[in-house]
Amino acid sequence: MKRTDTIAAIATALGESGIGIIRISGEDAVSIADKIYSGKKRLIEADSHTINYGHIFFDEEIIDEVLVMIMKAPRTFTGEDTVEINCHGGILILEKVLHAVLESGARMALPGEFTKRAFLNGKMDLSQAEAVIDIIEAKNELALKAGIRQLNGAVTENIKTIRAQILEQIAFIEAALDDPEHYSLDGYSDKLKKIVKKLYTRIEYLKKSFKDGSIIKEGINTVIIGKPNAGKSSILNLLSRTDRAIVTDIAGTTRDTLTENIKLSGISLNITDTAGIRQTDDVVESIGVQKAIEASNNADLNLVVIDGLLPIDKEDIELLESVKDKNAIILLNKSDKELKLSIEDIKKYSDKDVIIFSAKENIGVDELEDMIKAKFISKEINFNDQVIITNIRHQEIINEVSESLEMCLSSIEEGYEEDFFTIDLLNAYEALGEIIGETVDDDVVNEIFSKFCMGK
């Protein structure tokens, strides 16, 4: 495996800040940065604790004008050689620079890994141990959440199928090696070559989709919930400025959930409109209600719509109660007419922020944007960062998978013996598992025994 022990990551919050930092830590930090840097002096010749002005280039293209800070061990945060590349902000540029760093030999840092290294290298007070673990765990959980949720089901299924096929080939080869008198590998190389070529094509396709981000449901998962006819669909239409949701005056029109990706002041939201939540006997609608509750539970942000023209009732209270431990903003809708409810009425039941809103007259939209932005920047919702980071990590893994398959193909072509193929195939299998959160364990042995009749 090509992965080294030098790690890299975007060290600043992604958002609209003017400057972003890529941090690299480990033995090869300086030499890796040097590969993609051009300036007056090479970075490997630069003194420790200096700032160097130059450009980052990759694939013969200049990506950004940067300041590079070189800090040699041990006087660094992690206690290892560390490089910080200060780029112009902007997610796109940071991603490109990080990508270049990873292609040059670093690997993506695991959640909390810089902190972990700092701690293990004695750079932090031991009394901070608990805090360190908390940080690592929190980050890890977030990453896990992001990693699994942002892949759409089709991609996960696709990866599972590819993995299953790889495993089948490994198991066959291993079964034949283990019991050569029962299973023969004669002529198998040609067959395997065809299979691996097909898998390779599928991986290349995946690689492309990971790269252009089409695989990812990028953005903050936002759900609009509320009683039937509180105006949820109108709010979605207002925010997305299309007429996708069917808006009528009949309560219960939206029977399924609708998802729309919108940009609000540069922040990406995946907004899901849900069927109104209320007790219902209508079968179709009750499925919609169930989905709405599910969507709300999985959301990063809930927009709770309260019909301001009606007195607060049991269903409203239940709704407010249901978002108690979640990230939520309450929209007091229909303020174009005289409201029967005040912010104070709602505050009795919820401590969340309340905005006087009107979907019809465009009231409260700016306030909502500001509030989401504030939450985003204050890191209450730091999901977007994680999405991008996970995406880069996934790209890194997919590259590794495709390299492994390439190596397997070239081993077949060069006439290596069959047992060499499983080395590369197993690497590919293991790496793909990382994307969907599955490990290898005893998979091979189990597959051998379930598919092949072994033994004396």
Partner: protein, 629 residues
């Protein structure tokens, strides 16, 4: 009452493949050793298949030999056919397998035991452990005699509460109708040792005179034969070899099995033990793989002294009459007479997660365990554990550090690490796919990997070790030399390449690069290499392999480097996982059960996540600090 009381350094319980290696190791290291068996005539008995070696098991035997064990030498003296399996595959999966003359093997091993100084053989059933304050002080026999020792090695194989079953018949005996050991289990339970009940089986043996071999495919051994032991001179073991035969079950056989499946103790529920998936009974195979219309049966002689033939692939616990009908339905077996029918055997064994890497019980000092008793399967798996338990019990008695083979050093390391780390639901068998670094752990370089350890332990002689160092030096020098020989694209070279089906050179290359080409090898390129010295085959082979597979070997070596980082992070023995905040409950339970010796080992326990490992790493830092204060 006249009770005998004796004092030894080491007591070994059981004289199978594990017990013999354990006792030989400790006696050879100069410790006064006694080995107990229920029958002196059954020392190193092979109650199942008549082979030593095979895929990955051949590796184990060679590693054992490099460490100073006996099995390789014994089979070199007593084999009647030998083959290198997977010879057309990569060097990592070449595996030596020999047919043994069972009786000769047993006799040879007994002779070795009897002629080893410091070693006493004793036929007596051990019924109790003598344990005081969690320290094992010795054992007690069925007659009440006491044998005190500084360390005890349990290698009871499949004998504990053994029960042999076929059809409706169940007999409380060990394999081959030998006496089972029915008392020791309760002593183990009394000291809190967790037991499992496993199951295995064996096929019928048939009178060779009643088999029609003319309808079967003949199977020959290799010529020349490669010895198992690095000390055996290849020339000394070339001899006439016996033939084995290949037969097939047919639809009729399967029909008989299906019709009688309800009479199988496996399916009726009479057998409760967990059986191995890798050597399923024929009834298992027929039920599990209904699409297969035939299964291979290898017909193998049990020895030169007998007509009995072993039917490999036909393991069964069906009733006697069904076994008869099924065997006679196989082409060539129409008139077959069964000498011994097949049976399943159930036995008590331990959950090996109670053991340390050294094979000593964590909770009972001075008590070691090896072989099938630890939940493994196979003669070779047993032998290597026996050797390691013997070595480590001796180290303990001599006040030295235990010897632990890493997963990066040998299959022995993989085997023992898996046994003491992973929960097992069936007898554990070695497989090459269980080894992460199998390209480095080849059977051809077992001596280079492990002889140094065997030498340091004291089981490899100075002379043998010097010979190894010389071999290593020759290999290194030759590889270095080849890398510095530059070959120009001249007509002689191009002619050589074309003649050997290789593409002509564009620019000059070094000789190592030429050897690396798939269609070429070290020996072939001799004509391009005027200064080549005559080297022994074992040296030439190493040079060839190391050059040809350098790319892959380098990759695995760098993986080993990563692997070692975590292996070298040791976990203190007295750690209380309940005190490690933020560790998930499942991880606390698993870690407390296995008590891994290193972070690396901890990471291999199923149910321990990477996040748990991080928590543990951080905790260990604070722990170290506290200890220093």
């Amino acid at each position: 009452m006249n009770i005998i009381e004796k004092v030894y350094d080491i007591v070994v319980v059981g004289a199978g493949h594990a017990g013999c290696e354990a006792a030989l190791a400790s006696a050879r290291l100069g410790l006064k050793t006694v080995i107990f068996t229920v029958s002196v005539d059954s020392i190193a008995l092979m109650p199942c298949n008549p082979n030593i070696g095979g895929s990955s098991k051949g590796h184990l035997v060679r590693e054992l030999d490099a460490l100073g064990g006996e099995m390789g030498k014994c089979i070199d003296k007593t084999f009647i056919q030998s083959k290198m399996l997977n010879a057309s595959k990569g060097p990592a999966v070449h595996s030596l397998r020999a047919q043994a003359d069972k009786q000769e093997y047993s006799k040879e091993m007994r002779k070795t035991l009897e002629n080893t100084p410091n070693l006493t053989i004793c036929q007596k059933e051990i019924t109790k452990l003598i344990i005081e304050d969690n320290i094992c002080k010795g054992v007690e026999t069925v007659s009440g005699s006491k044998y005190f020792a500084k360390a005890v090695i349990l290698a009871t194989g499949t004998y504990l509460n053994a029960r042999c079953i076929y059809g409706e018949v169940a007999e409380y005996t060990g394999p081959n109708g030998l006496k089972s050991a029915n008392h020791l289990t309760s002593s183990l339970l009394e000291y809190g040792i967790d037991l499992n009940r496993f199951k295995t089986g064996t096929p019928a043996r048939v009178d060779g005179r009643t088999i029609d071999y003319s309808v079967m495919q003949e199977q020959y051994g290799d010529d020349p034969v490669v010895p198992f032991s690095f000390e055996t001179d290849p020339d000394s073991i070339q001899k006439e070899q016996v033939k084995c035969y290949l037969a097939y079950t047919g639809e009729k056989t399967h029909e008989i099995i299906r019709e009688n499946i309800d009479r199988s103790p496996l399916f009726s529920g009479a057998i409760k033990g967990t059986g191995p998936r890798y050597c399923p009974s024929i009834e298992d195979k027929v039920v599990k793989f209904p699409e297969k219309d035939r299964h291979q049966i290898f017909v193998e002689p049990e020895g030169l002294y007998t007509n009995e033939m072993y039917l490999s692939g036909l393991s069964s616990s069906l009733p006697e009459d069904v076994q008869y009908a099924m065997i006679r339905s196989i082409e060539g077996f129409e008139n077959a007479e069964i000498v011994r029918n097949g049976y399943a055997i159930e036995y008590d064994c331990i959950d090996a997660r109670q053991l340390k890497d050294s094979l000593e019980f964590r909770a009972i000092e001075g008590l070691f365990a090896a072989g099938q008793f630890n939940g493994s399967s196979g003669y070779e798996e047993a032998a290597v554990q026996g050797l390691m338990a013997g070595i480590n019990a001796s180290m303990k008695v001599m006040g030295k550090e235990p010897v632990v083979i890493g997963r990066d050093q040998g299959y022995i390391g993989v085997l023992i690490d898996d046994l003491v780390t992973k929960e097992s639901h069936e007898p554990y068998r070695m497989m090459t796919s269980r080894s992460e670094y199998r390209l480095l752990l080849r059977q051809d370089n077992a001596d280079i990997r492990l002889s140094k350890i065997g030498y340091e332990v004291g089981l490899i002689s100075e002379e043998r070790y010097q010979r190894l160092l010389e071999k290593e030096k020759q290999i290194d020098e030759e590889i270095e030399r080849l890398k510095n020989i530059h070959i120009g694209a001249n007509s002689k070279v191009q002619e050589f390449l074309v003649r050997n089906g290789s593409t002509p050179l564009q620019t000059s290359a070094n000789l190592a690069e030429i050897i690396r080409r798939p269609e070429l090898n070290y020996d072939l390129t001799k004509e391009l290499d005027e200064d080549r010295k005559e080297l022994r085959k074992e040296v030439r082979d190493q040079v060839n392999i190391n050059i040809k597979y350098e790319g892959y070997i380098k990759r695995q070596e760098s993986q080993v480097k990563q692997f070692k980082k975590l292996e070298n992070k040791k976990i203190p023995v007295d750690i209380d996982y309940n005190n490690v905040n933020s560790l998930r409950i499942e991880a606390v339970q698993k870690l407390s059960k296995v008590r891994p010796s290193s972070i690396g080992q901890a990471s291999r326990i199923s149910g321990v996540s990477p996040a748990d490992i991080t928590v543990l790493l951080v905790y260990l830092e604070t722990y170290k600090e506290k200890k220093n204060v």
